[in-house]
Amino acid sequence: MDEIAVLGVGMHPWGKWGRNFTEYGVAAARDALTDAGVDYTDVGFVSGAVTVRCGYPGYVAGSIFARALGFTGAQLASSYSACASGATALQVARGQILSGACDVALVVGADTTPKGFLAPHEGRRPDDLDWLRFHLVGASNPVYFGLHARRRMDLYGATTDDFAMVKVKNSRHGAHNPNARFTKEYGLDDVRNSPVVSDPLRLLDICATSDGGAALVVSSMEWARDHGYRDPVRVVGISTVSPTYPDPVIDLPYLAADSLAGSATATIGFKESIGARAYAEAGIGPADVDVAEVYDLSSATELDWYEQLGFCAAGEAERLLRDGDTAIGGRLPVNPSGGLGAFGEAVPAQAIAQVCELVWQLRGTAGARQVEGARVGITVNQGLFGHGSSVIVRR
């Protein structure tokens, strides 16, 4: 797959600001344009990442952000794929660039989230799985996180302290991040003493929901070269895969996984397939990765990703964590930004924010949370209803 250049990155700090999401997206976009040194009028394509929770369908992300920045006639698109929206928006921008439809694209995502559990819109909708799982089973998002965490304990002997250690590690990372919402360094006892939300997971194991915005300015390699960008960070792989039937692992928002009764062989698991596609596009493997930003919806989810990205075999994630491999200074630091544990989830901005962090890391400008010598980074996340998301950048 051909590469594109990341010329600029920008973020609006995460928090619970309660303002219109457009404001965060515009601030992030202006930051990214300034960082890139690109004039907004040179942007030929605005790719917006959207969440339906922004309000109602009248909020069309691409045009909302483009109009707030000032309409220039640029072409627009809006992507909704839940938590994966940002990666999809980047994927669409890459397609525009590589097809020659534009030279420079702006990718923007932002959100304002309500307090507490994410929940479906009002009204009785028995044909909507997202409604059914709440109504019939009480299966909020943390229920699924708890199911997967408990499974790690029963299959691999993980302990609740292992989960807590992920939070402790990520809070140590996030303490140095000016864009993070939570910058307090937590100790094991803080996590142990926080209330149980979805057994075995406690409040500090589970990511909050936040407001925030993130943006990227990307271009063709030719445009970057012609305009004097030397050695820019490049996007070398993007995965937006869906699951492959039959996928026997239950995940949100479903009431049931696929049946294996009629299948002689199981296919690759969905989460494993997300990274696999990105690795294949980039022509690299897990051993080449220097730094990763993974979607730690819960602390236990982060451990799952170590295995699903091929950093270790199944059941060995806890050892990687305990050995300090995934802390800054370790062999393969994971979530140097602080991850969702330090940010909370601003759904359509999050996959873009992951890329922002890796760009800072690869440029060597991440300050106190710098991963020394990082040249290759991978992001991974998963959006509701089967949206994979992974981006590989290198320098």
Binding site: H135, V137, A139, A261, G262
Partner: protein, 149 residues
């Protein structure tokens, strides 16, 4: 007057008799099952066929479980005051090799469950109004269901 018992959502499970069953779909002539029948996806290896309706196994083994210590948000209906934590199990059905979610019956918590434990389907009241009890399927440990001597 006794309230009429009806499913909280039609078409997902049977409620007649002592042995409730989940209503699934199956590709005719195969062992590819789906739940719910109309929302459970499809097998891309077969053409555009109508899934036949099948009743799924009543028994399965616990794949994992969790307990919600905070009341789930609407459209879940909280019926106890104060809220009694609900326990949810993911259960791999015996014949279908398919993991299905459901609440566990009241009184069953994480200390009563382990991965691999055998459970069976039952129904219970999810919530009620003046005229109706609205039912849902729930999981019950098989050991707990054995009659006492």
């Amino acid at each position: 007057m006794q309230r009429a018992q009806v499913p909280a959502v039609e078409g997902l499970f049977t409620t007649d008799g002592d042995e409730p069953r989940l209503i699934g779909g199956r590709v005719p002539g195969t062992e590819s099952y789906f739940f719910p029948r109309h929302l459970g996806g499809a097998d891309p290896r077969v053409g555009p066929i109508e899934l036949e309706e099948v009743l799924l196994s009543r028994r399965g083994r616990v794949w994992s479980y969790t307990t919600s210590h905070y009341p789930p948000p609407p459209p879940f209906v909280v019926t106890s005051e104060p809220y009694e934590p609900i326990t949810v199990a993911a259960v791999e059905l015996e014949a279908e090799k398919m993991v299905v979610l459901g609440q566990c019956i009241a009184g069953v918590g994480p200390d009563d469950l382990e991965v691999g434990m055998e459970v069976e389907l039952t129904t219970d009241i999810l919530y009620s109004d003046d005229d109706h009890d609205y039912l849902v399927w729930k999981w019950r440990p098989v050991a707990a269901a054995e009659p006492e001597d």
